[in-house]
Symmetry: C2
Subunit: 343 residues, 2 copies
DNA sequence: TTGTAAGCGTTATCAT
DNA sequence: ATGATAACGCTTACAA
């Protein structure tokens, strides 16, 4: 019935079909007024008939915006990130942006590669949840004029807006809670050494000890790489250290669960002997046994806010650098609950 | 020292800087031979000096390929998908493709919207892990000439290649295992009614019953929407049904864990009273207590293979439609293990 | 209100 | 070996 098309249909085809110029088609499609109703209808019919879909590459090239953003995260398999990604994706879609997902494994080289990749891809902006370690010796990053919003972290010296949660406050609350449960020797497992998130949480831990006139003990401070295995190993080493402790704060839930698993293997009772608090409130925290006390964060909301801020910066207005800091909240569960056991 | 640039640097700038024509620059950058070594070096220096990054939009427009692919999935927060996404992402990156991530919540309308969105974005191909009824959409889908590879599902009537795992076989093995553990009345919780994945697993369940001369009982078959809550509700309804059963096969781990939680609430012993097998082998399956017996799939590998196939189809060669079916494997854990308790 | 035409930054054809 | 130059599909002055 209709002719077979093999080439994609362009604005030219629509114009020809409707018997108008391509400029008129373009105007109508972009919602500019000044197109006669009668021709407007003819154009709409043609669009319909030919299944015309504008080529967004051509459009992007012309108006210099691709309507896509990059999202750089360490690892989508880390249970903290899916909810974040979801928030980003939903908000981006609402604003009409496509999201290009990039996993870096936390490797600085991959972070830099992806930045360049995204820049070439002409993304309008980047949501960055990495460590930016490469930036120190990368003149390149500062020369390009690309809106960047930091997600879930503040990076000292990086001149970008950020959306994050109050990690130091959160850790402080977590440790306060342990103390309120009667813990007197509180061990801690941090994430990667250079990670700002980890450092802030460690800082909150220390501050809580100080405010409660307790001593921070180097032997009770281990590093766990934010992973299950890291948490397990750290606990192994804590136990081997011989220094007694009755509480544990882990800088994320994965490590907390690793530690829990190790404690169980060693026959140590949680929370009776050792009370445990994690961070992030991943799904598993609620389902693990014992259920894990942890700090919840408005992750999805963080994703949304970050997109909103990025879109704002892309728009060019309100380019004030700004940190949006959300408050985490304590979720008390079994792993830290010693009922009426103050001493 | 150098002039400040505010506009992005183009191939023109490089050409001027190197004192050659843009054609020569383009040739060098595209690895075509026929550029004098001396000039080649001048060009490379200019590229370096100006931090030139080719505009991939312009390139895409010209050569009609965007080097990006779309990935459509129901929900990144469902623990099955992160590993899949990871496999896709890694492979895509290796092939030089950007991945545009799209969450649909399993809603056919969103799936269709995203398809069109991606088409406009000029993706070179789509990896589709959704439920869209392709028969209804075949018209516009066939007019656009876009390579599509089905991921983790076979969709009846959809004329596309697919990478998936043998769901029917997997379910069959799972149920066989339950029977080997002595189960005689095996209940089942399926996913969404329209989901091909769910249907195949239910089919495997039924076949195993038939081959063992056991009766499938409608009262022991519930639907759980692939979610934790769905599994919980389904078990609630199973228990309320009054029909006794001593085994459960759930079409995914989330539902299995929901069911486990419900069983625990009701004080039913697993695996002694009821043995449970799930599907997917998500992280949590190993850590839940009791640890969940489940069917593992080479998820990451599926992602990789799907990208490989898609890239192949984009390349235009070997456009034979093809199903790549990977084998799932049984992971026996505590939730189904009745030691020597055959009867 | 409408059309013509000049780009956007590339690649590729054609002379030279 | 190299350089003009014409596309690619779109937006947008500028003219009419």
């Amino acid at each position: 019935m209709e002719e077979e098309r093999t080439k994609p249909v362009t604005i030219k085809d629509v114009a020809r079909e409707a018997g108008v110029s391509i400029a008129t088609v373009s105007r109508l499609l972009n919602g500019l007024d000044g197109v006669a109703p009668e021709r407007a209808q003819r154009i709409r019919d043609a669009v319909e008939k030919l299944h015309y879909q504008p080529n967004s590459m051509a459009r992007a090239l012309k108006i210099r915006e691709s309507r896509s953003i990059g999202l750089i995260i360490p690892d989508i398999e880390n249970p903290f990130f899916p909810a974040l990604v979801r928030g980003v994706e939903d908000a981006a879609q609402l604003h009409g942006y496509a999201v290009i997902l990039c996993n870096t494994d936390g490797k600085p080289t991959r972070e830099e590669e992806y930045m360049k990749f995204l820049y070439q891809k002409q993304v309008d902006g980047i949501l960055f949840a990495g460590n930016l370690d490469f930036a120190e010796n990368s003149h390149w990053l500062s020369t390009i004029q690309l809106p960047i919003v930091l997600l879930d972290r503040r990076i000292p010296g990086a001149p970008y807006s950020a959306v994050l949660s109050a990690n130091e406050d959160g850790a402080y609350l977590a440790v306060q809670h342990l103390i309120a449960q009667g813990c007197r020797q509180i061990a801690v497992i941090g994430g990667r050494a250079r990670s700002p998130v980890s450092n802030e949480r460690l800082q909150g831990y220390r501050q809580a000890l100080i405010d409660n006139k307790m001593e921070a003990d180097e032997m009770l401070c281990k590093e766990g790489n934010f992973s299950f295995e890291g948490g397990y190993q750290a606990m192994e080493s804590l136990l081997a250290g011989g220094k007694p402790f009755d509480g544990l704060f882990a800088a994320n839930d994965m490590m907390a669960i690793g530690a829990l698993q190790c404690l169980e293997r060693h026959g140590r009772k949680v929370p009776e002997e050792i009370a445990v608090v994690g961070y992030d409130d991943i799904q598993m925290a609620a389902w693990y046994k014992p259920a894990l006390t942890t700090m919840g964060q408005p992750v999805y909301e963080m994703g949304r806010l970050a997109v909103a801020k990025l879109v704002e910066e892309i728009g060019g207005k309100n380019v004030v650098r700004q940190e949006q800091i959300l408050q985490p909240h304590l979720v008390v569960r079994q792993s830290s609950l010693r009922k009426g056991q103050e001493r």
